[in-house]
């Protein structure tokens, strides 16, 4: 070992110079680092701070509670109720397969759901819950909760789901909600981010769909801090969403449920309208279906049963179905003639049982003929020839114009799906669509609501209410939104001669109250509640000459789908009419036998706000009506949707 000694100055000098040089370079580099630090931390700080926030803050949507739907008296028609589901968190579960095996001993697990859940679990982060069973009952939830220690990672979760307490009674009005589909998303431009929440429900048909904007509400947001792998560390803040707005319909639940029960399993439709303001009190279509099945996801078998049923339960026939109005159209022909001054109420027409128009015989329903008929008798006994004669004088243009005035052939503005506009044929229409010229025979057919004319039950109810009131009534379905009633303009008059209208109303009154009226069989004998109606029987097929010769025209002998449609429209009471009713029974046979009794029961139910006194019915009907009232009472739900045990 050599003790240090002072080195030679030449070496030391060079070393000092180079050490200073290198030291200087090092310090210079450090200065560079400092500048870089300044650039990142001072000059570009805002930008990086933003990126850091984006990194750590995740915005979660809080789905708003959907607005509820009530009837005019506040009865709940659509509400939200807690819906339970079972989630599994993979990282807590450990052996997922074993846990699911144990879980399936406790509650029934759907194979399909399970496969989907397993696939989702493989994809998502291990700490995210995956739903293995949706819409489970409270009973199942408690069973899982009790066994929680044996089921690591399994947690019940609660959300809100739509529920329709009155099952099928409002299926065609309120409609239903369902999970957002890709198809739904594709239709919307710039969709609400809410729609991307898994299992978020939106209105699919009916009021639920048409008032989606009000019912949905707006999403709340929750800002959460997440770490690098997306695990939520804590909630930073939360902004509550805006709950959806409640809707109140003009429908009277009690009446609607009654009508539904009364129509039963017939393929039929009925509309009850307040003919003072246009409020729809009942809009029914039968048979119906349970919209609750659609909320949770209907099974393929159930759905097939609905679509393959020839009574078409899914169709809202009262607004979507169009039918030849048959004799219920006769008021229009008559009113047009009166308004044009072509006839007076006293003028008579000779009915030999047919009318020959351009070498073709148009028959009256009564082959023997009615003899001399005036307006009142023509309506009362539904003499076809009387209207044929008027029609030939009027021409289709004036008939069609009157039909339009009374609300036929136009799509009324209601928040319901698939509203039909019906058909109010004109020369133009025939030339355009059929490419044919209008011929007098077409006018003759149209005058009795056959041929090309088509109308929905809703349009017939509007027509009847306009005849009853003389006002240009429009149907209304929404009474209030979030408790606020939208202002309604005063209903203008139709501008028809009141005298002429009175003649029509008297004719309708005679239909239901004159001994020879076609609706006499379904009369009311309480003076203040007597009906003014009109029967209609519309053919759905052409009667061939061969058939006519063979005489096979009895409805009962025909297969169901070829039978005539039965129609009845009426208003009541005759003084200060309150309600208008339209009933269509598809392939029901005659209007007087199949539709009129239903319309009478509905009218009385509406006027009495419940079961009418039995004394209102003619004595011969009372026993039958009492039995029917008992039967229907058992079918009707109470305010909470609970029904007697009679319903299957």
């Amino acid at each position: 070992m050599r003790r240090p000694k002072v080195d030679n100055p030449e070496f030391q000098g060079r070393l000092s110079r180079r050490a200073l040089l290198l030291g200087g370079a090092q310090l210079g580099f450090m200065g560079l680092l400092g500048l870089r630090m300044r650039q990142l931390q001072v000059e570009q700080s805002d930008q990086y701070r933003l990126l850091a926030e984006e990194n750590r803050i995740n915005i979660r949507l809080l789905p708003p509670a959907r607005g509820e739907i009530f009837d005019r008296n506040g009865v709940s028609l659509a509400r939200n109720q807690p819906s339970y589901r079972i989630n599994i968190v993979r990282e807590d579960a450990g052996d997922v397969d074993a846990v699911i095996a144990k879980l399936s001993e406790l509650i029934e697990l759907d194979e399909e759901d399970l496969n989907r859940a397993m696939a989702e679990m493989k994809r998502s982060a291990p700490f995210l819950p995956v739903t293995v069973a949706d819409h489970v009952t409270w009973d199942q939830v408690s069973r899982v909760a009790v066994n929680a220690p044996a089921l690591p990672g399994v947690t019940p979760d609660v959300g809100l789901s739509r529920q329709y307490p009155l099952d099928g009674d409002f299926a065609h009005v309120v409609g239903y909600v369902g999970p957002v589909s890709d198809y739904d998303l594709s239709k919307i431009e710039n969709p609400d981010p809410l729609l991307r929440i898994p299992r978020f429900q939106i209105g699919k048909v009916g009021v639920e769909a048409k008032h989606e904007a009000e019912l949905r509400g707006s999403a709340g947001t929750k800002r959460v801090e997440v770490n690098a792998v997306g695990r939520v560390m804590r909630e930073l803040d939360r902004q509550e969403g805006q709950q959806g707005e409640d809707l109140q319909l003009t429908i009277d639940q009690k009446l609607q449920s009654y009508v539904q029960a009364r129509l039963g399993e017939e393929s039929a439709a009925a509309v009850v309208m307040d003919c003072r303001n246009g409020d729809l009190l009942a809009v029914n279509s039968a048979p119906t279906f349970d919209p609750n099945h659609f909320v949770t996801g209907i099974s393929v078998a159930n759905y097939q049963a609905l679509t393959e049923n020839n009574h078409r339960p899914l169709a809202a026939k009262s607004v979507q179905g169009t039918y030849p109005p048959g004799s219920t159209f006769k008021m229009i022909t008559a009113l047009a003639a009166l308004e044009e001054g072509l006839v007076s109420s006293e003028d008579t027409v000779w009915c030999p049982g047919y009318l020959e128009v351009s070498d073709r015989k148009f028959h009256c329903w009564k082959r023997a003929g009615h003899g001399h008929v005036d307006l009142n008798q023509a309506l009362r006994e539904s003499c076809d020839v009387y209207f044929y004669e008027l029609a030939l004088e009027l021409g289709i243009d004036r008939i069609s114009a009157m039909a339009t005035r009374l609300g036929l052939g136009l799509r009324h503005d209601l928040p319901l799906s698939g509203m039909a506009s019906g058909l109010n044929p004109t020369r133009d229409w025939k030339a355009r669509v059929r490419g044919q010229n209008w011929v007098p025979g077409d006018t003759v057919n149209a005058s009795i609501g056959q041929g090309f004319v088509l109308a929905s039950p809703l349009q017939l109810a509007v027509m009847t209410s306009r005849l009853a009131s003389g006002l240009a009534l429009e149907p209304h379905l929404i009474k209030s939104v979030n408790g606020v009633e939208p202002p309604r303009a005063e209903v203008p008059s139709l501008g028809l001669n009141e005298n002429n209208l009175r003649h029509i109303r008297r004719g309708m009154f005679a239909v239901s109250n004159h001994r020879r009226g076609t609706g006499y069989g379904s009369r009311v004998i309480e003076d203040a509640y007597r009906l003014a109606g009109k029967t209609g029987t519309s053919q759905v097929r052409n009667i061939t000459a061969a058939e006519r010769a063979a005489g096979v025209t009895k409805n009962e002998d025909l297969p169901w789908e070829r039978r005539d449609h039965a129609l009845f429209v009426n208003f009541a009471p005759i003084e200060d009419p309150k309600i208008a009713v339209a009933v269509v029974v598809e392939h029901g046979g005659g209007g007087s036998t199949a539709a009129a009794p239903i319309a009478r029961d509905i009218t009385l139910q509406a006027l009495f706000d419940g079961d009418p006194p039995i004394a209102a019915y003619p004595a011969k009907d009372r026993r039958k009506i009492e039995e029917q009232q008992d039967r229907l009472r058992a079918l009707m739900p109470d305010r909470d949707g609970n029904r007697g045990d009679a319903r299957t």
Binding site: P4, E10, M30, Y48, L51, A52, N55
Partner: protein, 379 residues
Amino acid sequence: MSYLEYSVKSVPSGPRKVLFLNWPLILLLSAIAGVGFMMLYSVAGGSFSPWAEPQIKRFALGLGLMLIVAMIPIWFWRSVSGGAYLGTILLLVLVEVMGSVGMGAQRWIDLGFMRLQPSELMKITLVMALAAYYDWLPPAKISRPLWVALPVLAILLPTALVLRQPDLGTSLLLIIGGAMVMFMAGVHWGYFATVSAMGVGLVTAVFQSRGTGWQLLKDYQYRRIDTFLDPASDPLGAGYHITQSKIALGSGGWTGRGFMQGTQSRLNFLPEKHTDFIFTTLAEEFGFLGGISLLGLYALIIVFCITAALVNRDRFSSLLILGIAATFFLFFAVNMSMVMGLAPVVGVPLPLVSYGGSAMLVLLVAFGLVQSAHVHRPR
């Protein structure tokens, strides 16, 4: 230069040596280690375990070792330099052999209380060997090609061994550190200029060759370079480290988010937050002021070392001090460049701050040598 006694004319002996230690240097090292403890406490979410506590213990051990090394005369250390260098080379070969005979890709030797990485030790023993070499070599021969080739081989041998591990960061540090010692020993400018020119040429060739028939690197290696040059091109892959690191730094701003308030590190967005990327946590939580302060501490250490080297008129001592200072500088300069996106991601820890036993102990022993050289300098 003694900070306590100016009148001493000869090398102190016995316990009095303690008075002649370079105390400012010790304080600076402790201050930096203190910053490290604080950051390790913070990145553990406000806990001494699992990082801060072992780090403190190791620092205490390292400080003790430093003092022991400092008390032993520098001429002893000079005499063992060659042996230390050869011994470390042997250790490097040993881990290489152990790795290949089935103990896994292991870079360390388990000493029981710590795992010694021979590559860490190599950085110091290489500097010692080079300093001893130039202390022995007559100044007239320094720039002769043969006498230049010898130290170059001494540098390249361990570099090749470390590169095989593979540890690109450390091999880079060995080459540059060794070159710096040679430069300060007085090797002629021309050698460095030639090597630098060749380096530039090689880099150019590497880039020029891309996509041609004589491509010099594999495709994935080019992609790594791309990622370094533009981290945003692969934000979730290889660029993730750099991107997240820059976000952490940048979001710190002037004064930072506050102690233990750094979201990037606390929420695990930062990779290797307790080791190579610990500086980003400091910069995020204490901002520009915090970062520049730490940089200042490092700069002071360099300044004090150069001063100590300049006042020391012993050739071995001066070169040793400057070599250790240069190695120390390379450590933090490469690390900081890396986290600031100025250099590719190579595994180089931030000296005295990053969690890790070998590096800290080796560094403190190295500063023990600096102290020994300082205490035993000729008066």
